[in-house]
């Protein structure tokens, strides 16, 4: 039986280049060919669809410029702080609302309906409160991140097995012990899921704020590329950003033992 297992495992890579992989390669190739034909045809406005070569060159240029990593660090720092503040506040509020039915009925509706409103419209307020520097971007990221985390944690709290809570109480655990030893471990998946969605919206909030008013960060680089009409550079920025966003999203999902893509 053990041998069969080993055989199956060694056979797996060979079968992985199956019809699905071939179809994926074909789709990518066809898309790239269509793109290149469009770029060279002159049917579309010049530079709207730049050639793959120029995008590749811009990508290489972007990734080999040390200044790009400074901007990346600024954005990453803003998102990290936003996640920390928004995630923590969301978790605390979620635990309080999830643990108390009355409070949940009183206040959760506000979170539920305010959660999906477009957060970028709060940016003028954030500028007035926190200035034009990174503070306003962090604040917008925090605001974006808070709602999904709070709602996810509150829902997760209500789904905790009642037996676990009774066990904690029978051991006369304090509120802190209940949170640390029972609630948080039992809510691992809702918390990670909330953080994953929170990361996505914090990233969008922070970057959009950077495109609106900033002199550093990835959002600033994107809008700068637009302002000087450097389309290959804009594509390069977007490609790197999308890859990073999808990668971090998948990593958070994997860290929490979630299926990184289906859970959304």
């Amino acid at each position: 039986m053990a041998d069969t297992g080993r055989l199956t495992r060694t056979a797996a890579p060979a079968s992985s280049v199956g019809p699905v992989t071939l179809l994926r390669i074909a789709i990518v190739l066809i898309t790239l060919v269509i793109w290149e034909v469009l770029a060279r045809s002159g049917w579309l406005y010049r530079d709207v669809v730049p050639s793959l070569l120029s995008i590749g060159a811009a990508l290489f240029d972007l990734l080999s410029t040390p200044d790009y990593y400074r901007h990346l660090a600024v954005t990453a720092g803003e998102i990290a702080v936003a996640m920390m503040i928004g995630g923590l506040a969301g978790m605390v509020v979620g635990i309080v609302l999830g643990a108390n039915r009355f409070l949940s009925k009183a206040y959760e509706a506000f979170l539920y309906y305010l959660g999906p409103t477009p957060k970028i419209i709060f940016f003028p307020i954030m500028i007035m409160w926190f200035g034009v520097g990174p503070g306003s971007k962090i604040a917008l990221g925090t605001l974006s991140c808070f709602f999904p985390v709070a709602l996810s944690v509150a829902a997760g709290m209500r789904q905790i097995d009642k037996v676990l809570i009774r066990v904690g109480r029978s051991f006369r655990a304090s509120t802190w012990q209940m949170v640390v030893k029972i609630y948080l471990p039992a809510m691992r998946h809702p918390i990670i899921n909330g953080l994953r969605i929170g990361f996505g919206v914090a990233l969008i909030g922070t970057l959009l704020a950077e495109t609106k008013l900033s002199n550093q960060g990835i959002g600033y680089l994107i809008i700068q590329a637009y302002a000087i009409f450097d389309m290959p550079r804009m594509y390069a920025n977007l490609i790197v950003l999308f890859v990073l966003a999808i990668g971090v999203n998948a990593l958070i999902g994997k860290a929490g033992g979630l299926d990184s893509v289906r859970g959304r």
């Binding site: 994926r24 509706a109 999906p116 003028p124 500028i127 007035m128 977007l238």
Partner: protein, 255 residues
């Protein structure tokens, strides 16, 4: 008992609304006593007064209809292309296995950041806003359509087979109606994303309806007006979410 029922049902809502009113009263006092600068946060009474001004002078109703029109066009495109895309991907197993992960990955990508690109392609007009709303909201509709159709109960499919239904009949009479509640969940998510992106891009490119109004008022440093316009957008969003939620509940059959 009726008193108890009343308390159980309405007391939390009363506490929630009461706290909100108290918060605004407290804020008003703090601002009037100069503990919070009115040049950063205008008093709630001033925001209330500004509502009349933004309705009469800034044409907020007309702007609302402009944004609604953009949302409507984006939603129509979303429903047609999202559901059609989901059906096509689900229909061909190989295509589904190859593309479903990509669509899910696209849902995780911050597509709205591509708005400068859309401005280059479509220009600074309503089509940039509509297309941005449409593209950013497409993945959930496709994913939920795939999930809905693939999740059709086996017993229903067997009934269809026992009647010798053609694949087309099977789809229109069995699979599509059975998938409708799940598809609507995807459409609801899509509509929410579309609204968020439409208003967001209006604000960012300073064009269109409600989003542009907020940007203009903020640039004029009309604090009362900016806050009132933001409150108006929140109100519209909340009413929008409530109505599509009601529509979803109406559509999903009770077990």
């Amino acid at each position: 008992m009726p008193g108890g029922f009343f308390q159980q049902r309405y007391a939390p809502a009363a506490v929630g609304l009461g706290s909100l009113v108290l918060f605004f009263v407290f804020l008003e006092i703090l601002i009037q006593t100069n503990l919070i600068s009115r040049f950063i946060v205008p008093p709630p009474s001033e925001i209330l007064e500004s509502f009349e001004r933004i309705i009469v002078e800034e044409g907020v109703i007309g702007r609302f209809f402009f944004t609604a029109q953009e949302c409507l066009i984006a939603s129509a495109m979303l429903i047609v292309f999202g559901i059609a895309g989901g059906v096509i991907i689900e229909r061909y197993n190989l295509l589904r296995r190859a593309c479903e992960t990509w669509v899910a990955a696209a849902a995780a990508a911050p597509v709205v950041l591509a708005y400068p690109l859309f401005m280059v392609i479509f220009g600074r007009n309503m089509w940039t806003i509509i297309m941005m709303g449409f593209v950013a909201a497409l993945p959930p509709v496709i994913l939920k359509t795939i999930e809905g159709i693939a999740g059709t109960r086996k017993v229903l499919l067997n009934v269809g087979r026992s009647f010798n239904l053609t694949p087309m009949q099977m789809f229109w009479k069995i699979q599509f109606p059975a998938a409708l509640p799940t598809i609507f969940t995807g459409v609801r998510l899509g509509l929410i994303f579309a609204l968020i992106n439409v208003v967001g891009v209006e604000f960012l490119i300073n064009f269109g309806g409600l989003g542009q109004l907020i940007n203009e008022l903020a640039e004029r440093y009309d604090l009362g007006g900016t806050y009132a316009a933001i409150c108006f957008v929140i109100l519209v969003s909340v009413l929008f979410f409530m109505s599509i939620e009601k529509a979803e509940r109406w559509l999903i059959p009770v077990d």
